[in-house]
């Protein structure tokens, strides 16, 4: 699984990192730690027509997405 660690980064960096990473096929684990980044990354993935699986652990969010 490819990991994108965007924890601690503020807008729009988490989305820029996500955008850059999702260019290739594979399963990705995207880590963010603020609600704005979580919402925007999930919305971006959904706009791409992909499914985002969201796991909330305490102060962090883990978003799993598979690009086929």
């Amino acid at each position: 699984m490819n990991k994108v660690d965007a924890r601690g980064l503020s807008c729009p960096e988490p989305l820029l990192l996500t955008q850059a990473a999702l260019g290739k096929k594979g399963t990705y684990q995207i880590l963010v730690d603020n609600h704005t980044a979580k919402e925007r990354v999930v919305a971006y993935i959904q706009e791409m027509g992909l499914e985002a699986k969201l796991v909330t652990n305490h102060d962090e969010y883990e978003i799993i997405v598979t690009v086929e």
Binding site: K3, G8, L9, C11, P12, L15, L16, L17
Partner: protein, 351 residues
């Protein structure tokens, strides 16, 4: 879609609140302005001695507390910081210098546009150019690096200070300076201003409302979401201004504005560029400061120091136009912004 709908509602309500606050006594096309109101607050605290712009604006206190309450209520309050705090202070300072050259933050720019002030259109072009320059560096890896979780107390201090300030203003107004003439003397009744600020704080926190983010996301991601809030605000304030008879179309004799195109352009270019480097416009930074983001608190302190300096060193424009000192400061601000953008670009954050 839900996000867009909420942003449209928030933008429209903020636009209406701004017009109503003008009706209740705030200066024209300045029902709400983050930069101007922080400047007035700096004056009220005695940080500068410009007698016409001194008033502890309850809108700012309300915004911060509104954002705090909304974040707390929705379990989004989080103490965090450590992403180049002092660089953010400097960026805040520079953004304020640019805003006071133009005479308004991006929010007031839209309100001025909605009032028919065409100088704001020139400012908007500068703002868009500044944002584009910021995006250029974002694409080259610009980052102020990561924030870290901090003890809860760290993020709570700033909202608590607002409560203390609010109580002091109500109980011991003699401690503060109040303009008897000029824009600082024009204000809606205290309670209405506070309620307006609280409402804007809650709405902006819930919707992540940001004036710079809208244009940035359009260019960077072809995403219109944040921009819809911006447009809704413009339309609502325009309708409000037409109803109340505040609309006056043209370049000249606009309230608290000057018509020097070049410096309106460059002032807002500084604001656009600096806002993208900060990750949000002055309004957004103020909201984040209420949500426990202490980097945004540092930015806010930069705004406050920038506003005080703008008047102490005669950098701020007036209705007569920009000052020579202000022109030098804005050019210097652009150079410093480029330097900061270059220094923090290039090395990608390791993921």
């Amino acid at each position: 879609m839900k996000e867009k709908r909420n942003l449209i509602i928030a933008g429209a309500v903020i636009g209406m609140i701004a017009v109503v606050l003008v009706y209740l006594g705030n200066p024209k096309n300045m029902g709400f302005c983050t930069a101007c109101f922080i400047r007035d607050t700096a004056g009220g605290l005695g940080l500068h001695q410009a007698g016409i712009v001194q008033y502890i604006r309850p809108e700012i206190i309300g915004m911060i507390l509104g954002a705090f309450l909304a974040a707390f209520g929705f379990k989004e309050f989080q103490s965090k910081g450590g992403s180049s705090p002092f660089t953010r202070f400097v960026l805040g300072f520079l953004v304020m210098i640019g805003a006071l050259m133009f005479l308004g933050c991006p929010l007031r720019m839209i309100l001025r546009l909605a009032g028919g002030d065409l100088n704001a259109l020139v400012g908007l072009i500068g703002f868009v150019v500044g944002i584009s320059v910021g995006i250029f560096f974002l694409k080259r890896g610009f980052s102020l690096k990561r924030t870290y979780i901090q003890p809860k107390a760290e993020g709570l201090i700033f909202p608590i200070i607002q409560v203390i300030l609010l109580l002091l203003v109500i109980l011991f107004p003699v401690l503060f300076l109040f303009s008897t003439q000029g824009p600082g003397s024009m204000h809606a009744p205290f309670l209405y201003s506070l309620l307006g600020g609280l409402a804007v704080g809650v709405l902006a926190q819930r919707t992540r409302f940001c004036m710079a983010g809208g244009i940035r996301d359009l260019f960077l991601f072809k995403n219109m979401t944040l921009l819809t809030g911006f447009l809704a605000l413009l339309v609502a304030a325009l309708i409000g201004n037409l109803i109340f008879g505040y609309f006056s179309f043209g370049f000249t004799e606009q309230p608290i504005a000057h018509s020097d195109g070049l410096w309106n352009f460059l002032g807002m270019m500084v604001v656009g560029f600096g806002s993208v480097l900060l990750g949000g416009c002055p309004l957004r930074q103020t909201i984040l400061a209420g949500e426990g983001n202490t980097d945004s608190v540092m930015t806010f302190l930069g705004f406050l120091a920038g506003a005080a300096s703008a008047h102490n060193f005669k950098l701020a424009s007036s209705a007569e136009g920009p000052t020579a000192n202000g022109q030098i400061a804005v050019v210097a601000a652009l150079i410093i912004l480029f330097a900061i953008a270059l220094i923090y670009s290039g090395k990608k954050v390791k993921s």
